[in-house]
Symmetry: C2
Subunit: 397 residues, 2 copies
């Protein structure tokens, strides 16, 4: 089946999480991604634990499925020259080095766009390429903190805590893939390439500002950490059943009324506990107490049965092994087995892009280091096998 | 300045968080977004607390800046006919109703693509339009739990906790905007429209699977919740300074060595505490104890000064008011004031799309309910002012 980005070539100078997730999204959507790696070691995540029996990092496989790998010593004159020939054939360059690094290598946006004005060049960094924090090195935990997620996650009386997954890296990866794809649209209309300067902090801040900045900007107050509750939903929290936690949310007024009916507390429909959102939210602790009283004498399964019949949003809190075997995810091809060369078949997440004509396609192995050196250098740049061997002997690839 | 998606028209049947954030991304990037709302009430978030002095919800303003609002009673024959005329002029339809709702209204993908085969039609729902959970209603907290984030967030001995921001909604919004933009690229090449079926659970699962599913799929084990530490970084955690918490991470081996030197523990460079990642990680509790001993006798400012000189990723954990006034975010136009009509100037987050030719543009107010009824019905569909007044009188708009 066709991919939406068929025919687009991405030259990928990224490693670790944010950049590789960006180019993974482009690959899922059909682009050809060539990963440029350091000879000998490559992406630092290649050896991150746990490894397959074939010695490949599980996380590396997920983040790099379907990409081609070429090794290039970018600090050598020959390596740089080869790299620029590849740039000339690319539609997109993505890099996530510290600001200034690509410029020092002679691969900055200004330099490359001089001979390739249609190039779309995306840079991902902790704080972006401008501003007072530009040169501070940063990883996902710093970006979660400096963008607001950490101060907003946790219980009011517990320490702040980051989101358990590297959401700063991954969300920035998706935002960047979106900016690149929009830039491709602009290029198709105008022929113009451009530079895209994405910051992890910017990306996280936009996420945390939506629900929480109005309180500060409009009232000068900051909300306490909300635990498992929601800034606008009451009833809405993680409640305790006889045999474990259960999530219940009501978002619109009709749900609130249906919920009280479903739990046999129709009487509450005529109290402030059922008034409009801003009024009702004032009674959140009392409302939560009523709900916990009801859930506490029932099992999670009983609660979910009653509430699903009343069309009230609810869910258990599955453990991670339950999620890794979830029937819904399996039925949507979100847990699939891929043939991974030296490692044999490996289970990986599928693509979320369920598109009727160009579905996200992930049934490809991740590359071994430099696995496409010969294919790319001879096929794309016209070198001979002897020249490729010589480059290898010189440590350039 | 031009927008990357200039000329693209999006007809937006979404409300609450996930869908509006998707179409916000498209608007930031230059698309024209027409928000179709219920006469009288509109998007449920319009009145979510806190409100401006003009009575507009702060979160609503952020999520809907720059969109046009038209009210339409889609259950009336006339309203439906007007809606289909708008669809005929649109490039993209986005909706986040429960599966089946748009079909019941006569606005399902099959129906609309019959007279508009080039239409790109994106559906967002809790579990997607297929599979055993298809008909379960779901909000962000359910999707965080059913996709894995909740089971992975928190401390090993504390209850599971969701990410403090509605990351299931917002990440799905970005993924969907990316799928739509890629579909626009495909349409430009082929003329084909398509249907996109996005699930909050799918989107969250992909995020949580990257770091955590390899452990389960390769070893059968699930990792404990990691608190503020990271599945592959040691040293790496939230540590306690004399006057508050401080985040420190090391991702590559050279950083580990530089870190031990910076804290005066060069002796550790020749111990297993400085061996390669999978070996070193076994000593994480002992390594954390060494780091906490060092941080505990210094202030956050002293620690950050020392570590920034050594180029080690580190950060304080700012409170949310500090983030809302952060100099870096301000310098990158990520905190800006926008003239918001009845509410006057309102501070909102900027656009993360720092693109040299088509920067994300957000300097627009959010619409009042039905604020563009007349403009759209007369300007785009050629109705007379009298006809618009009649529709209003009949409660159709």
């Amino acid at each position: 089946m066709a991919g939406a980005l068929d025919g687009i070539m991405v030259l990928d100078f990224t490693r670790a999480y944010s950049g590789p997730f960006c180019t993974l999204m482009l690959k899922d959507l059909g682009a050809r991604v060539i990963k440029v790696e350091l000879p000998g070691s490559g992406d630092t995540v290649r050896k991150d634990y746990p490894l397959t029996a074939g010695g490949e990092g599980g996380t590396f496989i997920i983040l790099n499925r379907g990409k081609k790998s070429i090794t290039l010593n970018l600090k050598s004159e020959k390596g740089l020259a080869i790299c620029k020939k590849l740039v000339a054939k690319a539609d997109v360059v993505v890099e996530n080095y510290s600001p200034g690094t690509m410029e020092k290598l002679g691969l900055g946006h200004e330099e490359l766009s001089r001979f390739h004005p249609g190039l779309i060049y995306a840079s991902i960094s902790g704080y972006g390429h401008s501003g007072p924090y530009r040169d501070y090195v940063s990883y996902d935990p710093m970006a979660q903190a400096m963008g607001g997620i950490t101060s907003l996650t946790g219980f009011p009386d517990s320490p702040p805590i980051k989101c358990g997954v590297s959401i700063a890296d991954f969300s920035t990866g998706i935002y960047t893939a979106l900016a690149i794809t929009a830039a491709l649209h602009h290029r198709q209309n105008t022929g113009e390439g451009q530079w895209i300067d994405m910051s992890l902090q910017d990306c996280v801040w936009l996420l945390s500002s939506i629900e929480f900045s109005p309180s500060y900007f409009l009232t000068g107050k900051i909300l306490p950490r909300l635990g498992n509750s929601h800034p606008s939903m009451a009833p809405g929290n993680l409640y305790m059943a006889k045999d474990g936690p259960v999530l219940i949310s009501t978002g619109v007024h009709s749900q609130v009324l249906r919920f009280y009916q479903a739990i046999g507390r129709e009487d509450l429909c005529r109290t402030p506990f059922a008034s409009d959102q801003s009024e009702r939210y004032k009674y959140k602790p009392q409302i939560d107490a009523v709900v916990n009283e009801w859930t506490g004498s029932r099992t999670v399964a009983e609660i979910i049965k009653i509430l699903r019949e009343a069309d009230i949003p609810c869910a258990p809190v599955p453990s991670f092994d339950q999620i890794c075997t979830d029937p819904q995810l399996i039925s949507r091809d979100m847990i699939v087995e891929v043939e991974q060369g030296v490692s044999g078949p490996v289970k990986v997440p599928g693509s979320p892009f369920k598109m009727s004509r160009t579905p996200g396609n992930i049934k490809f192995p991740a590359p071994i280091l430099g696995g496409s050196n010969s294919e790319i250098l001879t096929g794309m740049l016209g070198l001979t096998e002897e020249e490729v061997e010589q480059l290898s002997g010189e440590g350039i690839i």
